[in-house]
Structure formats: C-alpha cells, structure tokens
C-alpha cells in the first residue's frame, strides 16, 4: 500500500500536445496528501537523482512516472524499497489518441491522459512490495536418461558445481548412442563422420565424484516443488528417495512400433529394414549388401496411414458417447484413474525426417568406409533436411563417389528375386526409373518416450503426466515459440529427442541449455523469484483460505499444475512451481487469491477510477480494454509509435495474462458505466502463442459465462468480446479497436450507465 506517492511528468516524452502543468494541478487537487510530490520535469531521465532525493526527503514509498511506455527505459527508474509504476502517456495516449485537431478532440486527449494518470495512482495505492517466498534450494540436479543427452547434461551440471543424480532405465549407460560409434559430425569442420567418444563420456561420468549413477532405475514419483523436489527412484526394484532441486528430462526416443511402413516392404521383404536396425547391422559389420538405397520419401506409407487413420476416426464416431458414459461412471466410483494413451502415430515419421536425412548420410559414409568406396549408396528423398552447419557434412558426403542422391517420389518397393527394385518418379535425373539394390533402408520414426509412458510420475494434483502432450504428438515441448526447454512443469527441463527429434550435436547443445535452465530454476527458488517467463518476479499468489469454498477451479485451471490440494480440495500453493500468470485468481469466484502487486481489487479500483461521462451521445462511449501485457500491449505500443492511432474512447489496462481476467472486472466496468469491454489476448489453439499456454483460451471460455450473466441482466452480450492479436499485428490492432467502438456506438449506451 503506497501511501506517499511522487508523481513525475516526463515532458520530453509526452511532448507539447498535452497541458502537463494543468494535469499536475489536477493530480495535486484530486489526491492531496497521497501525492506529496508532483513535478513536471523537462527531461526525466536526467533527473533520477532528484527523484531519489525526493524519495529520501519526503519519505516517498511510491513513484509514478508519467511518460513513455513502461517497456521503455524500464531499468532507469529503480529505487530501493520504493514501488515504481509507469503511466504510458506517450505510445498509448498522445501518439494513439485519434484526434482531428479540434478543441473537443483536445479535450478527449486530456481526459484520456487524466484517466491514465489517476489509474496509475490507484494502482500504486493498491499495491505492495512483495515478500519473496524463498526456499533453501537443493543444489542437486536429477538427470533422467543416461543416453547421449543425459550424459552431456550430467557432465555439464557437475562441471558447474552441481551435484547430479543420473537415472538410467537400462543396465548400461549410453542409450541409443551405443549403436552409433561413428556419428555425424560433432565439431568443426563439420564435414565428416567421427568417433562419438561415448566410452570416454561414460568414463568421465563414472569417475565424477559429483555424479551418482543409478542404472536399471526409473523415476517412481516426483513431488514437491523446484528447489525442494523429492524424487523417488526405483532402483532394481528397491525405492530410494532423493531431494533434488531441478530435473533434466532426457529420456530420448524409441523406434516406432506401428506397421506404418508395411506398404513399403518393412516387415515383409527380408531386404527392407529401417535406419535404427541398419545402424546396428553396420556397427556389427553385418552388412553384406553392395548396393543400398536409403529411401527417405515415405509419402506412400504416410498417405495410407493417414487414410486408415481417417477411416478409423469415422468408424469410431458413433460408439464414442456410450464408451464415454461408461468411463465416467467408473471414474465416479473409483476416482480418476490415470491411463497413459499411446501417442505414437505415422506423423512421427515426418517429424523425424531431419534426423533420418542426417542418419542416411552418416550410414552411407560408414558403409562406404567399410567397403573402401567399392559400394553404392543411394539416398532417395522427398525433402533432404540437413540442419544448420551440417550442410557442410552434406556437401562433403555428396562428393563421395559411392553416394548418389536424388529427389524422387518412390512409387513402389518390390521384391525382384535376388534384389529389391525401387521405382522412382519425378526424379532429378529427368527420367522415371527402377533401381536395383540389395537392401532398402527406410526411415525410423523417433517416438518420444513421453508418448509411451508418464516418465516423470508427478505426484501432482493434475496427474502424473505432462499435460496436453497430444498437442505435440507426445513430444515434451511446452512453449516452443519462446522457451524451448520449458515443459509445462516448472523445474523439469526437457532436452534431446524427447523434446524434438534431433542430431547428436544438437542433443549436446540442448543438454547445455536445459542444464542452464535447471540451474537458473534452483537459484530462482533459492531467491524466491519466478524462473520464467516472468524471470525475477518476486510476487506469488497468496490465498485467503478463510473465504475459500474449495471449488477446485484454481487447481484445475493452473496451466502449470502449480497447485496441489488436500482431500477437502483446499488448494496447496507451491510458489516455486508457479509462473505468476494469475490464471488462478482469474478463475476464483470468491476472489480469495491475490498477488502483492497485482490483485482483483487493484484492477477493479483502476476501472472505477475512469471518468465515464453520463451523456453517451455528446461525450462518447467508454471502452475498457484488458490487454495481455506480453503480446497485445507491445503491439499497441508499436501501433502508437508508428502513428496508427485509435479511438479516444478506449482505456487500456495491461494484465499479466488474459487467464488472469476475473469476471468481476467486467461487472465492475459495466456497473461503472463502461459501454463495452474488449479482451485483447494471444492466439490460442494448437498453434498458440500464449506465454502461459492456456490464458486466452481459458478467458474465451469464461467470456461465454460472462456473456450469459450479462444476458440475464439485460445487457447485450456483444458488449464484451475477445480478440486475438499477435505481437507483430500492430497494423491491425487499431482497426480492431475502432471496429469494436463502432459496434458499441451502434448498440447505444450501457443500460446501467449513470445508475
């Protein structure tokens, strides 16, 4: 609760369009003792010391900087023990206010600025300095999976000074890398296959005193929160519990089991095999063939599989409701039973194309090496996908006499007695041809282990598995656009092929990244701050349990499973798992959840602080915009910067995530007399861009309920609407706002106005 606020106007960044002196006067008059210091500065950035002097002299506990967007110069205004808030009078006010130069439009701009400044004062008034929820973080990292990625991660974490517990399911370390003694290039000059150095890597791990290795071991349970997880490890049938700070998940992949490639001869013709099997044959020197075709084009099989999939989906449709009902009944009797759905599908072939492309090159090279270049290796591809610098490997391989490549549509693979005939069409050779070979090697579908099992066994309220894995066909990827290593479970960082099929050099790099994230996580828990995406945020949700009705909405809706609960359903917060999005308080019907510096009452008070004129016709409508601060807010800033103004009747309040929008704010706005409420959030659905994964989706669902309520009250539900805005859509967002204002203007005033 800021009680003594200094208000500073940054003339340089506001410009001449506003009568700043009059605004300062208004603030003094309205807020009196709450704002003992109100100053207009020609250049505020040059007056930081003066602000500090004011803070000391007038014992200020809040500073309100009115000028540029809070996204600008955010690092300049920091005063210890003092809350700082910014009022965006530049990008989203002076630059954004559509005016026609008339006296009335100047008034509208002044009103807008005044509203924003008053909202800023209230925001500070209703905000507190958060007390970080620090825990003594365990400086030990659990690495699950002892393959190439896991070994790299363990070594890296140990070298950084962290203790490591490495858990491997099989009896020996090495994973799939055991089958690849000669790998695709791992270092400069990136041109040729090399020894993997796996033995040395394993020896390094075994000799490292910081690393405890458990083979024949799996994770039986992970409970607690980052910094103080308790992992239960099943080692050879016996349970052990180990406190760990964070987890690197590197459980890798398993070869596709399904018979998707049967139409191309796999499993039918003895001369047809797939990459992973062929790799083992090469390793053991069991390849007798002289001509080998690596067929990367699996369109034939994929199309068949897709058709079969569609047929199956069609057949299933009518039976589905009955089955569901049965399931539900069962659930009610025994409570929800977790059943892992096998997420393997033909799509994994496509996802694995890059790895298979590189694998084909690698194996062709090994094959030529083993036979002194007196053999022929054909690579027949639809899309040869060679990532990044491995282009050099591709170029070098291409120079090899025995390696021949062409793009082609493979139309048939047939037995031709002593050999196999591969029929190719639309080739680069300018002719359709049949190629006789001794062996055909098809791609291996890399199916992430997480598509098959719940490898982490979370003891979380939301279940033992990662949520929504079906969105990614089983790959443990959460917020891939911005944060590749994050899973939907804070403190668990996926690396390597469990996250995305990748080559061994990429796995190493991925391991480094995930380890750094894991370390950041432990350190953040230690400091009591959020890891990501709001890195360093000291606030966290606080529950007023007295009023909690144990409705479980917060525990169910938390996108990160941060909240557990007891038998009665009382939520049990785990601040270190939390990403501070506020989805829980957006969900709470009793409004018992709040952050020290972001809460229901605060935003509600800000809404109420806006001056809503009584005369709709003369003074125009008022529209409240709740804008996601991650994407929509920057888009609005950019629109302002690029002179794409919008209606002067809009008032914007940034929110952490649309998921944090509580229905009460809409009621507040309606009862205040706002004529419409716009919710500006990210794209959602399969291709979501939401920082917090579900925010805008959840908000959209809640909006339906809000609309229903409004309808009951006799307010048109069209007055509240949600729009998707990507961060780069600055050119569209003013149009969206103006169209909404036009819609509201056509609807007429809010029936509650002036009541």
């Amino acid at each position: 609760m800021a009680t003594r606020i200094g208000v500073y106007f940054d003339q340089q960044n506001i410009g001449g369009g506003l009568d700043v002196a009059a605004m300062a006067e208004q603030v003094r008059g309205k807020w009196g003792d709450l704002t003992p210091v109100v100053k207009v500065m020609p250049v505020l950035a040059a007056a930081v010391e003066e602000i500090q002097a004011d803070v000391d002299a007038a014992k200020l506990d809040g500073v309100l900087v009115c000028g540029a967007s809070p996204r600008r110069d955010w690092d300049q205004y920091r005063f210890s023990g003092v809350q700082v808030e910014r009022v965006n009078l530049r990008e989203q006010c002076v630059q954004a206010c559509k005016t026609d130069g008339s006296a009335s439009s100047a008034t509208l701009l002044a009103l807008m600025a005044q509203d924003y400044v008053n909202m800023g004062v209230v925001k500070l008034q209703k905000s507190e300095v958060p007390e970080p929820a620090a825990i003594a973080g365990v400086r030990r990292i659990l690495v699950v999976g002892g393959g190439w990625t896991g070994l790299t991660a363990a070594a890296q974490a140990s070298q950084t000074g962290y203790e490591v517990v490495l858990v491997e399911k099989s009896p020996a370390l090495g994973g799939k890398a055991v089958n690849m003694p000669r790998t695709s290039p791992l270092k400069a000059p990136w041109t040729s296959i090399q020894d993997s150095g796996l033995e040395a890597k394993i020896a390094g791990i075994k000799n490292d005193g910081n690393i405890t290795v458990h083979t024949k071991a799996t994770v039986a349970k992970l409970e607690g929160q980052p910094g103080e997880f308790t992992a239960t490890i099943m080692v050879d049938g016996a349970e052990q519990t180990i406190p760990v700070g964070a987890v690197v998940l590197a459980t890798g992949w398993v070869p596709m089991q399904g018979s998707y490639l049967e139409s191309m001869g796999l499993g039918k013709l003895p001369q047809v095999t797939h990459m992973a099997e062929f790799g083992v044959m090469l390793r053991d020197g069991n390849v007798k063939a002289r001509r080998v075709a690596f067929v990367l084009d699996t369109t034939l099989a994929e199309e068949e599989a897709a058709a079969a999939y569609a047929r199956a989906a069609n057949d299933e449709q009518p039976e589905a409701p009955a089955a569901k009902a049965g399931e539900q009944a069962e659930e009610e009797l025994e409570g929800p039973v977790f059943v892992k759905e096998d997420l393997e599908s033909y799509k994994h072939l496509r996802y694995s194309n890059t790895v298979n492309s590189v694998a084909a090159l690698r194996m062709a090279n090994v094959f030529c090496d083993q036979n002194n270049d007196a053999v022929q290796a054909f690579i027949i591809y639809k899309d040869m996908m060679i990532p990044g610098i491995l282009e050099r490997f591709y170029k070098e391989s291409q120079n090899r006499l025995g390696i021949m490549m062409t793009k082609a549509d493979v139309t048939a693979i047939q037995d031709a007695g002593s050999h196999v005939s591969v029929s190719c069409e639309n080739t680069l050779l300018g002719l359709d041809f049949d190629l006789d070979v001794d062996m055909v090697v098809l791609p291996t579908g890399l199916v992430p282990t997480t598509a098959k099992d719940a490898v982490m066994q979370f003891a979380y309220r939301q279940g033992p598995d990662f949520p929504d894995l079906e969105l990614f066909d089983g790959f443990t990827d959460s917020n891939y656009i911005c944060f590749p290593y994050e899973t939907r479970r804070t403190g668990v960082y996926a690396a390597g092929c469990v996250r995305q099929p990748m080559t061994m050099d990429a796995c190493e790099e991925d391991a480094y990244g995930a380890v750094l994230k894991a370390i950041q996580c432990v350190e953040s828990a230690d400091h009591g701050v959020a890891v990501h995406p709001r890195s360093g945020d000291t606030s966290y949700p606080v529950f007023n349990f007295v009023r909690c009705t144990q409705c479980k909405r917060c525990t169910e809706e938390c996108p990160f499973g941060a909240l557990d609960d007891d038998e009665k359903g009382t939520p049990k917060p785990n601040p270190a798992r939390c990403r501070r999005c506020g989805t829980c308080f957006g969900a709470c019907p009793e409004r018992v959840i709040s952050f020290a510096n972001y809460n229901i009452d605060q935003i509600g008070s800000m809404i109420r602080e806006v001056q809503v004129p009584k005369d709709f016709r003369k003074e125009g409508p008022r529209i409240l915009i709740l804008a996601c601060e991650n994407d929509a807010y920057p888009a609005l800033d950019m629109a302002g910067m690029r002179n794409k103004p919008w209606s002067p009747y809009a008032r914007i309040i940034p929110v952490r995530c649309l998921g944090s929008v509580n229905a009460i704010w809409v009621s507040d706005a309606m009862s205040k007399g706002f004529d419409g409420v716009m919710l500006l959030g990210c794209k959602y659905g399969d291709d979501y861009q939401c920082h917090f994964i579900k925010g805008s989706e959840i908000c959209n669902r809640r909006k339906e309920n809000i609309a229903e309520t409004l309808n009951r009250l006799g307010v048109e539900p069209e007055r509240v609407d949600q729009f998707e805005v990507a961060i780069d859509e600055y050119d569209k967002v003013p149009g969206i706002i103006d169209a909404f204002v036009a819609r509201i203007t056509a609807l007429g005033p809010n029936p509650f106005k002036g009541m």
Binding site: Q376, Q398, R400, L401, M404, D432, D434, L435, D436
Partner: protein, 387 residues
C-alpha cells in the same frame, strides 16, 4: 509401367573425374548452369541434366547425349556455379570420354587419356621417321646430314617426298579420315533415339546440312559469339587458329598438287623449298604467324583460368602442346635451313615430322576430334533435331 532400369557405373564416374571432371560430384542440382548457358535451348537445357547423369555414373545417357557437342565450352556455367562443380569441365571431360571410347582401336584412346601414354604415342612416329631417315642415309652415301648438289639444305634430300612423306602422310590422312568416318557413324548410331525415327515434312540431303553448318556456324564462329561478349578474345584466338589451319591445309594442297600435278602438267610444277617471296610461301608464313598468334592467345587464356571455376585437363594441354610443337619445329626448321645450320635443321625437321604425324594420326582420339564430331552433331541436330 515400363520404366528405365538404371545401373550406375562408378568406374565411369572415376574416369570422368580423371578426364577433367573431378568436381562433378559437388553438383546439387540447382540448375544455375542451365540458366546461365547462352546456347542451351529452353526445352530440356544442359548442362544440369548431364551433371546428375555424370554423378550417377549413367554412362549410356552421357554417351548418347547430343548436347555434349552443342556445348562450346564458354564456361559461363562454371563461373556462376554456386558449388564450384565446374559443369563446363565435366562437359568437356565427357567429350574426352567419347573420343576415347568411340574411336577404334580404343587402345590409342587409352594412351591418349593421360600423360602416361605420351611416351608410346611419341615413340611410334619417332621410330617410323628414324627408320625413314636411316634408310635414306643409305641412299645418301651414309651421310645423316646430306646437302643437295647445289649445296643448299633440302629436307627432301632425306625425307624424300615421293617415297616417304607423301605416302606415309596420305595413308595417315586417309586412315584418319576413315576412322573418323566410322566414329561419326557410331556417334549417329548413339544419337538415334530408341524405337523408330519418323521424319515428317520436307528434308534436305545431308551434304546441304553440312554446307549450312559450315557456312552459318563454323566460318562465322557464330556460337562463340553467342557465348557472350566477354568471351570475344576466345573467339578471336580460336578463329585465328582455325583459319591458320585452313591456310596451311590450302598451302599443303597447293604444294601437293604442284608436285604431283607437275609430273603430268609441267606448267604447274612446284618444287620445295620455295623461295621466300613466292606467293604460296608468303601465304604459308602468314598461316604460321596466325597459328602462333592463336596458339599463344589460347594458351595464355588457359593459363589464366581460375581453377575454382575452370581447369585444363590433359586433353586440353595435349592439343595445345602438340600444335605448339608442330608450329615451333616448323618455324625453327625453316629458320635453321635459312641459317644454313644443317644439323639442327635436320634434327628439328625430323621432330617436326614426328609431331605433325602425331597431330593427324591421333586426331580422332584427341580433343582435335571435336572439329569432326561437333560438326557431325550440329549436322545431326539440323537433320533430326535434339533426340
């Protein structure tokens, strides 16, 4: 459906690489070369398709490919190739392979394919002419370096035209012609598309097409102009060399006609050595100067080639080298003769004969064969089109 069965031949790729196309595997099929080529037609252009056939070792496709011969080796494709695959060199290497295999006996082609065969190629005429010299020494009272009755140096004293040079070269010349004729017939056989060839519309006899090719393309060097203005030097040099050959061939014909015809019609009798101011001799020396100029220009051009884009194979250097040897020994033997230095004159003249014989006798297997095979291909295209 009946599809072509392809059988990649790695040995062929290796040979192609040795014959000048060592970078051919670098091609990644972007087709920049086919776009860059100023003479490739829009329909099914070259040399992209030849590059992929080469890297897949599709020997038959390349051997039967007429486009090899339509290429005039300007090097634009090589200049623009993003991977340094040097398509121009591959095309010329493929032509070299055709010289080697097309012409019988192919053992000579094998000797011709690398510097290793050079000693044998040299030894054959060296022994032949040494034998002639030795036999003639017997006729010259045991003198290896005899003078004529009037004291002049007369090469005919040793290498007597009627019984040595003329018959040997006539056999060589007509032998080469015959071998080339068979080569051209085989080449036509290769060019022929599979199945039946049906020609619709009016046709011209083959010799009319030959005439057209000579008049429209060879005399004007039109394709060289098509290769681009920046390649004008190459055109001038090649033209100088070409016309010097024409001039020298004409001189040789006049001398032969004068000599042999003179036996029948004394009025046109012509004896060598001719005086320096004799018109035919003047023409011969002009031809020699053109030869030297063209040769020097082409050699300099080859030396200045950036190996990143284009390089020179043994075939290229053999041809330039042998012509240099012919020109230099020819010029020097005249100089020594005029200087009255009898020993160097005969020795150099001996070498001159050896090199001239090499030039003509090995023509069907050497790069010089292009003047016949390319002409044949151009004629074929005019008769039947490209495949």
């Amino acid at each position: 459906m009946a599809q072509v069965k392809i059988t990649p031949d790695m040995e062929f790729v290796r040979e192609l690489q040795c014959a000048g196309g060592e970078s051919l595997k670098k091609c990644f099929q972007c087709a920049t070369c086919s776009v860059a080529c100023p003479v490739a037609p829009a329909n099914n252009p070259y040399p992209r398709k030849e590059m992929v056939w080469a890297s897949w070792g599709l020997k038959e496709k390349l051997r039967t490919d007429i486009d090899l011969w339509l290429c005039h080796n300007c090097g634009n494709c090589a200049d623009l190739c993003p991977r340094g695959a040097r398509p121009a060199d591959m095309m010329s290497a493929a032509r070299n392979m055709v010289y080697k295999d097309l012409t019988q006996p192919s053992i000579i082609g094998k000797w011709m394919s690398s510097a290793k065969g050079l000693p044998i190629l040299f030894a054959i005429p060296a022994i032949l002419w040494m034998l002639v010299w030795w036999i003639r020494t017997g006729f010259n009272d045991g003198q290896w370096f005899p003078r004529a009755a009037d004291g002049r140096i007369v090469f005919g004293q040793v290498f007597y035209g009627d019984y040595t040079i003329d018959p040997i070269f006539m056999i060589t010349f007509f032998g080469a012609c015959f071998i080339l004729y068979r080569g051209v017939m085989r080449l036509f056989e290769l060019f022929k598309p599979e199945g039946k060839l049906l020609i619709i519309g009016k046709t011209k006899p083959w010799f009319m097409h030959v005439y057209d090719v000579i008049v429209e393309e060879i005399i004007t060097h039109k394709k060289f102009s098509d290769c681009g203005e920046d390649k004008e030097n190459r055109k001038t040099a090649h033209m100088a060399l070409f016309y010097s050959f024409v001039v020298l061939a004409f001189v040789t014909a006049v001398v032969a006609a004068g000599h042999w015809g003179g036996k029948v019609i004394p009025a046109i009798k012509l004896e060598t050595p001719m005086p320096l101011i004799f018109p035919v001799k003047i023409l011969a020396n002009i031809g020699m100067l053109m030869l030297l100029f063209g040769l020097a220009a082409l050699t300099l051009r080859r030396m200045k080639l950036n190996p990143k884009y284009q390089a020179s194979s043994f075939y290229d250097w053999y041809l330039l080298g042998i012509i240099w040897a012919v020109a230099v020994t020819g010029m020097l033997s005249q100089c020594f003769r005029l200087m009255d230095a009898i020993k160097p004159a005969f020795v150099v003249y001996y070498f001159h004969l050896v090199f001239v014989w090499m030039l003509f006798a090995y023509l069907p297997w050497s790069k010089l064969g292009h003047f016949v095979y390319r002409t044949a291909a151009l004629v074929y295209v005019r008769m039947y089109g490209r495949s």
